[in-house]
């Protein structure tokens, strides 16, 4: 029997190892799997490479993971946002590495990683510093850069509804990176607000088919990052 439900966030992240590449869903706080990130902080593994569009805010969630010195390298498109001081400070101090990737290239690299495409060409970044060192190639009169698919050992994502097969449905713009990170990771761990019976989600509206998901943790009332930040909270 297929049952991807795991009893706790701690159990769900228990095999994430030192040096792992971890994709973390979310665009800002929307879709950020904050309970899974906090479980990863509790776990204490180090030297992670983390893929996320941003670097978190305040001193909770992804920012707290970075502040806790567990992240050796960030792969992201926009590492500074309102209320983000943790990454900038560490970056200026030379204590964390950054691979800056244009947002659409980041999304396409993740999608390619999940779809078995090792590399593709895109016009994004041609003629800019972010194309330096990359292969340029002309197709039909226009230059493109070669970009590589991006895979991960783990993905931590957040959805609204799930079943024990791992079928997922997201909420509004919290969908963002979830579906493609689920495809690109060896082990995908999703926190869901609602756990439903198999068959309760219409086959036409499932966004992430269960084949891309390995573990489901139910977090019925997830914390909201901006509220924690506004309240001056920190983790742990």
């Amino acid at each position: 029997m297929i049952d991807k439900q795991v009893g706790s966030a701690a159990a769900a992240v228990a095999d994430i190892f030192d040096g792992a590449t971890v994709m973390v869903g979310g665009f800002g706080e929307a879709g950020s799997p904050i309970e899974l990130i906090h479980a990863l902080i509790d776990r204490g593994v180090k030297n992670l490479t983390v893929v996320n569009n941003n670097t978190g805010s305040g001193h909770v969630g992804l920012a707290a993971l970075i502040e806790n010195k567990q992240v050796g390298k960030m792969i992201c498109s926009f590492p500074r946002t309102a209320n983000s001081t943790v990454f900038p400070d560490l970056y200026r101090a030379g204590e964390i590495e950054l691979e800056l990737v244009p947002q659409g290239t980041l999304a396409e690299r993740i999608r390619a990683g999940g779809a078995g495409v090792p590399a593709f060409y895109t016009a994004t970044s041609v003629g800019t510093p972010l194309a330096e060192g990359k292969e340029l190639r002309n197709f039909e009169g226009r230059d493109y850069v070669l970009e590589h698919g991006l895979k991960a050992d783990f993905a931590l994502i957040k959805c609204e509804r799930a079943d024990r097969y791992g079928n997922l449905v997201y909420n509004k713009t919290a969908r963002n990176f979830g579906p493609i990170m689920a495809m690109a990771a060896e082990t995908t761990i999703a926190q869901t607000g609602l756990q439903l019976e198999v068959g309760a989600i219409d086959p036409e509206v499932i966004v992430t088919p269960g084949i891309f998901v390995d573990r489901i943790v139910t977090v019925t009332e997830p914390a909201q990052e901006s509220r924690l930040v506004a309240a001056g909270r920190s983790y742990p």
Binding site: M1, I2, G113, G210, I211
Partner: protein, 248 residues
């Protein structure tokens, strides 16, 4: 699904008993028939596997997966959680499998478009694919899409994507062609579907793994000897039967 499958099995088994290998000496059928080949392959589908079944004998595998195992079937035209064929009269022309036959969905199924479907394949998310073959070489090359004949209409479908992308490729095939030529060969003479892609082969005579040393026999059909298989196999054949290894 398994309960229904069992009854389908009973219904169909009698009329299929004849489809084994014709023993050239006395005209009786020996080896496994098509249903038995599918049943043997089904034993190797683990609980929780995501499986894509090719057209023909491979389709039958779903009927024989042992009870208690939950297996999810993918069909590359855009469905995960394919169920059995509908009752006659219940067919929906917009709910079909890769062989364009009417199917049903199980609870927990999902629909998606073709690029997403082949992302599951190419991205190595499908655990097992079971396919038919024209030829399998000793190094696991598969030819199953074209004879290369000049007047043939070439048609490949998803076969090349499946063998390139799915983690484990099983082949179910008659050991020999109708002309008596071995389909297990040193090197394929037909155009390839993929290089070094096949893991295991279920024929009417034996179950064989593809190994660096050649075809490795794991199991023989009842009444079939290693010599009988060797006579009907091109390429190196190794006896890898557990009894042989342990008991020798």
């Amino acid at each position: 699904m398994n309960k229904k499958s069992s009854s389908m099995n009973k219904k169909s088994s009698s009329k299929n008993e004849k489809s084994g290998t014709l023993n050239q000496k006395n005209g009786t059928v020996i080896g496994w028939n098509r249903e038995q080949m599918a049943r043997r392959a089904a034993l190797d589908i683990p609980d929780g596997a995501y499986v894509n079944l090719g057209i023909g004998i491979p389709e039958k595998v779903a009927q024989y997966v042992p009870e208690g195992r939950e297996v999810i079937y993918h069909t590359e035209n855009g469905l995960l959680g394919m169920g059995i064929a509908p009752e006659p009269g219940q067919e929906d022309p917009e709910l079909i499998n890769a062989g364009k036959k009417a199917v049903t969905v199980i609870p927990g199924a999902s629909f998606f478009h073709h690029a997403d479907s082949f992302a599951m394949i190419r991205g190595q998310h499908i655990d097992i694919c079971v396919l038919g073959a024209m030829q399998v070489s000793a190094c696991g090359d598969l030819a199953n899409w074209s004879t290369g004949a000049a007047d043939a209409i070439p048609a490949v479908g998803g076969a090349m994507d499946l063998v390139a992308g799915v983690k484990t490729i099983f082949v179910i095939t008659q050991h020999c062609t109708k002309n008596g030529d071995s389909k297990l060969v040193e090197s394929c003479s037909y155009p390839l579907t993929g290089q070094a892609v096949v893991s295991r082969i279920y024929t009417d005579l034996a179950v064989l793994d593809v190994t660096p040393e050649g075809f490795r026999v794991l199991e023989l059909a009842p009444g079939i000897s290693m010599e009988y298989v060797r006579d009907r196999t091109e390429g190196n054949l190794i006896d890898g039967r557990l009894a042989n290894v342990v008991g020798a």
